[in-house]
Chain length 371, copies 3
């Protein structure tokens, strides 16, 4: 093991590597601009013409609902001189997408409909200047985008999760809380942290009490989709401040799964957590080598809202507290690995998924000998 640890590209060095601006740019290009990114729930686009904007590195993407009901995405820049089309983070288009600079106007399908004073422009053909399209995919109510040219469908990437998510019936769930965190740590430290419960006893005493840190098993051991479950301890129904359920049960969870919490990470930006009575997902948005914007949404079955005996805040508060504990320790990790004297140490067996995440990152960055 010590040999591998002295190697600057060994898995344990992955987090630190991202602290270098050049590596960060490479990660944005190869990981965030070529993989499916979760951008939220489809319910954010309730009506025709609704849109929201997400930023991927320095790129900006409009996600909208077209007149035919389809969710589409386009780069947030005019084909004329590159101006941002949408300044607001979300809203509803009137008739079309109009560039505020010179009024070039596009349909919700991206076609250039109007470009003033271009009739006399030799060789200019409007049909050749549509908005730059971005691939989209819907999966159980989640919206994904992919900035690559012609990606395989998102459902293929998530095929192995299909049964599990069907069981939990995530499609109809609604978000009862959306929270945004600004964390002073590299995005990979966040995923490494999510991928192990070796830190749960020191960092999350409440969580460790509700769910023994060494309980459970892993489902998916390598590749971009990793995860498994942990068990709830005797007498606890969910991960909440009180240990009691805070929502109506999700889907038709079989008896043997009733006391489990599933944790999945999909490289590069989705963390999905399934409890018996609610789901939670994080999306990660790297801002710089040492800074990550993180969203967290708590999803409940709509029937929960009609049940005064159930308190969704009990689960929301639990994870808001736990999230903040994680972000803080990740920030301490970030500060530590910034030292030029840092050398990676050995992962324990309880951190197997963190190590697999490191390997997958290296593989996608193109360092094949570490695959």
């Amino acid at each position: 093991m010590s040999d591998a640890m002295d190697d600057p590209l060994a898995p344990g060095n992955v987090a630190r590597a991202g602290a270098f601006p050049a590596v960060f740019a490479e990660e944005i290009e190869k990981l965030f601009c070529r993989n499916w990114l979760c951008v939220g729930r489809e319910t954010k686009l309730a009506k025709i013409s609704d849109y929201f904007v997400v930023d991927v590195g320095e790129a900006s993407v409009i996600v909208l609902r077209d007149r035919d009901g389809a969710v589409r995405a386009f780069h947030n820049l005019c084909r004329h001189r590159g101006t941002r089309l949408c300044e607001a983070r979300e809203g509803r288009f009137a008739e079309a997408i109009r560039c505020p600079y010179h009024s070039w106007t596009y349909g919700l399908d991206g076609r250039l409909q109007g470009a003033p004073s271009t009739n006399d422009l030799a060789g200019f053909d409007r049909s050749e200047w549509p908005l730059l399209a971005v691939a989209t995919g819907i999966w159980h109510g989640f919206v994904f985008v992919n900035l690559a040219a012609d990606p395989a469908p998102v459902s293929k990437m998530l095929a192995r999760l299909e049964d599990r998510v069907t069981t939990y019936d995530l499609g109809p769930l609604v978000s009862l809380r959306g929270q945004v965190y600004d964390v002073a740590a590299n995005w990979k430290l966040i995923v490494e942290n999510y991928s192990e419960c070796y830190h749960c006893a020191p960092v999350h005493p409440a969580l460790a009490k509700l769910s023994p840190p060494t309980s459970g098993e892993n489902d998916f051991f390598e590749g971009p989709l990793l995860g498994g479950y942990m068990e709830l301890s005797e007498g606890n129904e969910s991960l909440t401040m009180t240990g009691r359920a805070c929502g109506v049960p999700l889907g038709r969870v079989p008896k043997e799964e009733e006391r489990r919490v599933y944790y999945y990470s999909l490289l590069p930006n989705l963390l999905l957590s399934l409890h018996p009575d609610y789901a939670m997902f994080h999306t990660l948005w790297p801002q710089s080598p040492g800074r990550t914007r993180i969203t967290c949404d708590w999803l409940f079955h709509p029937d929960t809202l009609g049940r005064p005996d159930l308190n969704p805040g009990d689960g929301i508060d639990f994870w808001d507290l736990t999230n903040r504990q994680d972000w803080h320790i990740c920030e301490q990790s970030q500060a530590g690995i910034a030292s030029p004297f840092y050398r990676p140490g050995p992962y324990s067996h309880r951190e197997a998924l963190s190590m697999q995440f490191d390997r997958e990152v290296l593989r996608q960055l193109g360092h094949p000998r570490h695959y």
Copy 2:
């Protein structure tokens, strides 16, 4: 056209190119340190020994009025150990220019007059250590500096404007308002914006009403000096909030020019706008690839001050509003072209001067095939 647009050095890419730190440094060196820069009106140096300081990239320049009445400029650094001589942005020298660190003292002509404890310094000759001089030029009341070693006179650069400016008699004008703007956009986007009125209808509804965006003609079609005029619409006397004149007429403007507004850009930092009753000029000071400091002055004939029926604020307010509309859309452009997915699009014929500006920038940066 599409071929040119795929070329990363094509004119349409000029704005984006400046977003890279290395290109920005090259622009400061080749454009801002080798061309004449307008630094304001000579009236800022009313008396002998008056000075002000301007920063060009990381260089700092003192502009002063010498005892013989001449305007001179020097690098704002002591020949001994480089310390800034002037900390204040403007003021009046007492007898001489004294470095605050070790009291090396210079005349207003730059000669080293005193350097304590250097008599015993072998080979040291005061006459060899004058302040580093910067070329200056006065043109119709405007002060210019040029950081190049031995530049041609500024009047030569502006010769083609001589007749126009003589007609408007800019020399005696006084600034009734100086405004500074901090804009989150590359400096070239500001010039491109100034160079076309294709954006006027969407961005400046009030301006478009006073002065039809497609009116007028261009005078100067290529090179560092570009521009032309637009016409005022029937019933309007000037560009003001009310459409009425706000100052006494400038110079002896001939009948056929009475309803015109002239717009000229001199690469790299001067924008000069001539109205029948007032002049306006902007100077541009790049702070970083995505940030520009812009000054704007409104110049009126002194007789305007004695005329209670004239309200200069009517023109000042008009352009302050219009300026802010421009800065905002330039900032949206800056955000858009920062995306790695941006590709330059086609200029319309109404943006001919913007394209010529791009070409001149490329030419001066030394990319001759785009000339």
Copy 3:
């Protein structure tokens, strides 16, 4: 001289060279990570288990007092995944040093005592994963650390000062004031400033009155330890606001030294000033090419505290004022040399130590022809 001055690596260019990020990184690596750094007085670690943290570039170091009374230092990062062990800047350890992330636990001697869930880790031997040790040294009550692997003792580096410091009996002194300054200047400008009194008349009129700027002599003329003394003028007992002594006399200072103030710089981070009645030391901590964090402590003999007729604030106020004058002029120097038009000028003979400092910096950076 002019030849040398045109050379970008000539001594006079040393300050400016440090303004480039690449040179700054080289200075941190070659000067700050390979030399002894003063980190304060041993009295900061009064009891067993007391610790404080210092940052050297992006490295972080814990300095602590072990159970055996020894002062030790370790890199502030866990051998497991690099997390910072100490978040607080100072404090007292309970039993051991516990990493907050996964509870790896170390003794105050650095040995790894506990690492949960590693018993099943093939080839893992706790004894191979102690904290990364940093060399320490104590010298007359000052604590030093050295991040190099196996440095010669600090006493050897300071051997030439031994007699002087023994005379002043610095060991028992206590700090009556610690001040931290954040200065917008490269760290080398601070040392160059400290190394000459050519600037005293213009910058420090009060100091120049108490201690003639051309008085005294230099002791150490080249290498990492430089310095000498200046004399107090007739009627003044020390450098204080009043000119009167503000503490009991230090050690057994011989008659001929009673009216002297000694100034020593030890490259890269210590400035030590000895007055008849108090000592003062600065430590320098480069934050970026243009920013330095500086600590200043005023040390008095403990007997001073029982003497109501003596006012230590008289000396503290004097140097706080003088410090601020120096930081301000160094900031003006920093701004000036940032200009690409700056060229180094000639040092006067009164700046011999500043030039020697430049030479030593170049030597340690590995530019031997300037040695």
